[in-house]
Symmetry: C2
Subunit: 431 residues, 2 copies
Amino acid sequence: MKRLYSTDAGFEQQFTRMVNDRRESDESVAQDVQEILREVRRDGDNTLRNLTMRFDKHALTDDPSSWRIGKDQCAAAYNDLASEAKTALNLAADRIRAYHEGQLPQDRDYRDDANVRLGARWSPVEAAGLYVPGGRAAYPSSLLMNAIPAKVAGVDRLVVATPTPKGEINALVLAAAHLCEIDEIWRIGGAQAIAALAYGTDSIDPVDVITGPGNAWVAEAKRQLYGVVGIDMVAGPSEILVISDNQSDPDWVAADLLSQAEHDPTSQSILITDDAEFAEMVEDAVDVLCAQLETRGVARKSWDDYGALVVVEDLVREAPALANRLAAEHVELMVADPDTMFADIRHAGSVFLGRHTPEAVGDYVAGPNHVLPTGRRARFASGLSVLDFMKRTSFIEMDEAGLREIGPAAATLAEIEGLPAHAASVKVRLK
Amino acid sequence: MKRLYSTDAGFEQQFTRMVNDRRESDESVAQDVQEILREVRRDGDNTLRNLTMRFDKHALTDDPSSWRIGKDQCAAAYNDLASEAKTALNLAADRIRAYHEGQLPQDRDYRDDANVRLGARWSPVEAAGLYVPGGRAAYPSSLLMNAIPAKVAGVDRLVVATPTPKGEINALVLAAAHLCEIDEIWRIGGAQAIAALAYGTDSIDPVDVITGPGNAWVAEAKRQLYGVVGIDMVAGPSEILVISDNQSDPDWVAADLLSQAEHDPTSQSILITDDAEFAEMVEDAVDVLCAQLETRGVARKSWDDYGALVVVEDLVREAPALANRLAAEHVELMVADPDTMFADIRHAGSVFLGRHTPEAVGDYVAGPNHVLPTGRRARFASGLSVLDFMKRTSFIEMDEAGLREIGPAAATLAEIEGLPAHAASVKVRLK
């Protein structure tokens, strides 16, 4: 864990190092992935059989249930949920749906002064593939956050790919799939699953967009297939930046910092405050709470390796500028006047205003998406939304009068660009 | 040039082959590009000097004007424009600006039934890099179409990178840069220019988003840097699909088909009609017009290699389904009732309604962006827009009552996902 004081001579250098530290695996998986994509493209189902046996110890056989998990199985998993879990999952789904319905874009269709009709029409993609990792990161909330925007967008076909190592299936994920009305669940994982969704195989029809978290191979496969399909942003380890004055309860701040730290050993939790004593109280609270957590192994390592306490002199003046440089995935503003500070924050995935808004409510039930840009990408990227599952078709309509008014300018520009057929296509109509 | 008749036995197979034919270079440039990115990242300006000498025969020296083109030079190029060109360029810029201003997204900020405040705030990226190719594809219209959406978005810093082979500068591009108020123009090109914009060098500050057309090296560099910066969609050769009944003038259709064919030998122009005789008349008209074009070399090769005449029986019933499978960049509907047909077209970059709307007006002056998805990517991608230069920050604010209402569900879900610190961050506030 690092301690940075803005009054220290080395502060600028230390902070810059923290901003530039990407914490992302430099593993050279690109070559492996390239080979897997090539194999799946060439040999489809057969490659899926081989790689699923090799990586997941799961046999894809002539029995269809070895390939796909049926809707009845998902319904059963949902019905088996404890009532508290069922209620919570439904509350989450309802609130996520309500928030995302407000993202549906408006079509445009108007005539301008030259009587030229212009517009844009949004439509959903036909099919979306949602990757759901096996193991530690198989979260039902993640399926909700990926599937509901697709559903709200109006996608016709929702396909999940998820590995079932040694045949093991995560019942919570199936329950969430039931709630989200997923059309197909394929028992495949890794780069080979992404390739199968993008290219299609004899068994699996291709999709148009692939979203969802995954390990380095999954992320690299998505990156390499960007352009063959649409993908969500490349995702790195989770981050939280808490900006707090000394009026917050240190236990609350500590819990919020640890809620990111427990995700992954490479997650990052940072506190910016204007009171060095408060920072120490938070540090103590982190130690106390961390020791009680079942996830303490991961949380401790993340906090020790990447955690930071940054003490500044003037929170209102200094913190927003530092926050913009970090461009963190999650930013909590635990200060007296969060609105004023929010006005100065330009780069952040999601902002949590005030002392009673722990980041975890955003992970599950608040409504906005929890798939957010990491690794300083909030400088240019947004959280997952309904728009990631839609596309826009612009359109133009003109009559002879309109063409006569603006067409000659097009012909002039075509000619100076050396494109005579472009010019001819206007002129031939105005003869 | 291919002739396909929907009544032929082999039609389905032939059409599928056309849909799957990507026409994109399989050149293995990935390795070269990877090496260039690594070198620029490590050795910045020095690598730019070496590669610019090697590829462009242009020396980047101690003289700043060898690196950058000044604003005075752009203003002079603009003032030197012939008055017709100046008027046309201004008309184009004004109309593009007006259309894109309508794309500015609405922020959201509301309280829901649980008195939870939710919203999303859009903000522009700080800096955008626009690539402008040298040589044949150095089009001022392309600079307008990339720069104006960025400007409308509110981007602070607009940077152009363009190669100046043997020192040669394209005056039209400079004039357009003046009109778009570009802040910096760097005389660099290729993958090294994209790397310099993404990583920054001692001379060049990094940008957040890179857009603009380029050759295979430029496109691959953007693809590899996706995630370090935001990029526009991977672009392939241009395409047009004209759907026309036999009431259109064959000369008009021929000019439109050739206006894409003249772009590049790998461009594709397709006519779908319901009259075989009309198709032949168009074919003849293509031959006549093509012979007159200065661009006939390129246009002829594109038409011969990739052009297609598709004759169907029932245009209204069959054409939209075929169009959706092609998901073409440009679709012209030269039919009696274009609106009805448009309602059936789901996948297209931009649609041109009626007989008096040649695609070329969309390239220059209509207003909508001419940077559009190619290579069947209209299935999932949209044309360039103001949104490509902005990002969304979601936000959440709740008080104790709101947290008491929805917080426990978050804690429940966190617990079943095995994330106790998430649960603790809610519970500690409700003690």
